[in-house]
């Protein structure tokens, strides 16, 4: 960033007032993003936040950068297209557990596999907040607060970190909305990591899952260095209770597209046309 004055976190907030319920975990993520931006001294004009639809996906408008509030479940696809076309930009994709793991599940696993250099923050409250509290793919089997699944979804929840690992994600971390400073630190690392970085944030929905205030008591913060071994990571991710936070896994591998893929050939369009002449 060329700007001489160092910006503070609050300088990265836009003037739009969030629509979230008081006490919503997404406020923490919003704070953490702006903190990370400040810590990185990131250029607002060269940063884009992309999202789908959901309470969480409303976030881009609250940050003073470029943003794209897309359609439900497709934020990751927009973000990848943007980054491939404009490798000079810093691109973050954001969304909820419904947006990312339910309707957007295919883009999630393919983004992990494709390894385009973007950061993806999934704000997981184990519920569809925006549509007033239905079960998501991470909702506990027996959560019976939704009339749509009155006896609970009855289906084992996804373990997003395990899914990301199996799909090929090279950088996996977890945060908790009760600890925005840690989220900020992880976001900064994710942005700097060259490749697809997946940050899973447990972000409580105070309105539809007030019981999530109990998360506070069971969250653990990992001090251990991130695992670089996929076996170990898989073992951990399949078994964990889902509340260990910190950088969990990191591996270096080639990003896509390969660097320098877009060098133009001298006079190319003309030559292409010429090839059709008899």
């Amino acid at each position: 960033m060329t700007d001489a004055i160092r910006l503070k976190a609050k300088d990265y907030k836009s003037e739009v007032k969030p629509i979230w319920c008081p006490g919503c975990g997404h406020f923490s993520v919003h704070n953490a993003i702006t903190k990370a931006m400040a810590a990185l001294g990131i250029d607002k004009d060269r940063t884009v936040l992309v999202s789908g639809i959901g309470c969480s996906s409303r976030l881009p408008a609250y940050v003073d950068s470029y943003g794209f509030h897309g359609v439900h479940g497709r934020g990751l696809a927009i973000a990848q297209g943007l980054k491939v076309a404009r490798p000079d930009l810093t691109v973050l994709a954001l969304g909820g557990d419904g947006d990312g793991f339910s309707i957007g599940g295919n883009h999630f696993i393919h983004a992990c596999r494709r390894n385009v250099d973007i950061t993806y923050i999934a704000m997981d409250n184990e519920v569809y907040g925006m549509t007033k509290g239905q079960a998501s793919p991470t909702t506990p089997m027996d959560w019976d607060h939704s009339k749509l699944t009155p006896h609970g979804p009855g289906v084992r929840p996804f373990k997003p970190a395990a899914l990301a690992l199996a799909s090929g994600a090279p950088w996996i971390a977890r945060g908790y909305s009760g600890n925005p400073n840690q989220i900020a630190k992880l976001i900064a690392e994710a942005v700097e990591f060259p490749g697809f970085s997946f940050l899973h944030v447990m972000s409580q929905c105070i309105t539809f899952c007030p019981e999530q205030t109990d998360w506070k008591a069971i969250v653990t913060e990992s001090e251990a260095p991130p695992l670089a071994d996929a076996d170990e990571a898989a073992k951990q991710f399949l078994h964990e209770d889902g509340f260990q936070t910190g950088l969990l896994y990191r591996e270096q591998r080639a990003t896509w597209p390969p660097p320098g893929a877009t060098a133009a050939e001298e006079g190319a369009p003309g030559k292409l046309a010429a090839a059709f002449r008899v």
């Binding site: 897309g70 696809a77 990848q80 491939v84 050939e265």
Partner: protein, 574 residues
Amino acid sequence: MSTRYLSIAITGAGGAGVISCGELLLRAWAREGGRGLLRKAYGPQIRGGESAALLKLTADERYTAASRYDAVVALDWDNFTRFEDEIVLDADSWVLCDEAQALPPAVVAAGARVVDVPFDELAAACHPEGRVNMLALGVLGRLLGLPATTLAELAGQKLAGKPRDYRDAATACIELGAARDIACQLPVPPMGNKGAWYLSGNQAAGLGALEAGIRFVAAYPITPASDVLEWMAGGLERVGGQLVQAEDELAAINMTIGAAFGGVPAFTATSGPGLALMTESIGLAVASETPVTILNVMRGGPSTGIPTKSEQSDLNIALHGLHGDAPHLVLAPLDIADCVFTTGWAVQLAQRLQTAAIVLSDQFIGQSTAIVSEPRRCAPFAATPAQDPGEEGAYLRYRLTGSGVSALVTPGDAGHRFTADGLEHNEKGTPSSRQSDHQRQLAKRQDKLTAFDFGGDWAQIDGDGPVALVSFGSSAAAVTEAANQLAESGVATRVISLRLLAPLQTAALAAALEGCSRVFVVEQNHGGQLFHYLRGQLDFGQPVHSYALAGPVPLSPENIAQAVATVIAEATRS
């Protein structure tokens, strides 16, 4: 028959190489300054099934499908019945085949004249690696008056990667075929035109897109659009662009939108089923005013339908398949060469008007290869009229302007940060559910299309007779040909071939129809989609008739002419 043309069908098992034979023949014909079209037809088998190369050679570049065949080269008759609907023979037709193989009943019934060419036997005798398709190439080359050396040279180029033995065999077979005296007279059209191009509509569309500035493509393979993408993958690499093979069409259109938001002109190509999957997000492009171009190469529908065959039945979804009020552009190239112009125009219009453009090509023009005069290009638009985003911090992405078009900046532009949104929004882009914001933004998105001056390219108009024949896209060729036939029988027509379908240029169209006593709307689908659309948009002062016939067999100029003539005769009588 008003237009002199020569039609040749080459049929055989999938492995026999009839398509290669057709391609080499057409290339050689092009070298000699001929004009012609090659349509490819396959059975449902992936490999090993039957296939047919359908050639139409005609000096005037009237590239409709042939209504009958002057000659059929049948390397074998297996499954010929699959093509029965398409390869019409009559007593004037010549059939070149191994008489040892029993003729199919349809061929016998047609009374076609049969010439014995024992392909298998001759090829085997000629060279251990001898192939029947090369033998047929030689035979046909002679009938067309093409030099055997040209055929052999082109075959050599095509087989460059194969072992020498293989290439030698090809040359030997071509020469053997060319030396064979065949008692059959074909009405060979004149050659000697120069400066031609040889390409398919799909290649032409790809070229048009790249020339108009497309530098990003995301897509998912689908027949018959995949070869647009396959050509563009190579092309983009050379012009410094990027192609992403997406996991599905939902990702494809959204990646396209993402790249476009980044300021890189972006494109995707698909066919019916893929277009259906994209409509939700095309609506996002419309609402967020992000320019994208979607090429839809139509095939037989509905559902998976007939993937390898042509139809014009995606007009409805292209016009009306988006939820909500989502005005956008819909265009259709009129022929193979026009794919360059129309696709380029669509890209430029999408960029200029900050919206989505859907281009409706189809399998017939997309996958047929033709020799054409140098294609017309869409002249590059003058740079977008200066749009001042205004002072830092005061930028209104969706500002209400006179033209409906607002200044668009892309990330990296200092101080004009905004969030694009598919939620209804105010001028700044902040979500709003107020009636006033909604009505104004709806009007803006409509008005920028309605108010734009599209110039004269919205249609191609030929003739000024009192009978109007209106069509769109690839039907234009059959309609034009029908018009010629009608002219011969004294019916003067006015052919209006629509290139711009949305926004429909109602005033221009009404003006073009002025003085017409009767209108026929011609299209290749079952429901009369264009017919109903036009009636819904325009007050016709005269009777309007629908001529709508689904695929997969291409529209027949003869049948169109006859239907028109019948209606007119009846009207005169009564």
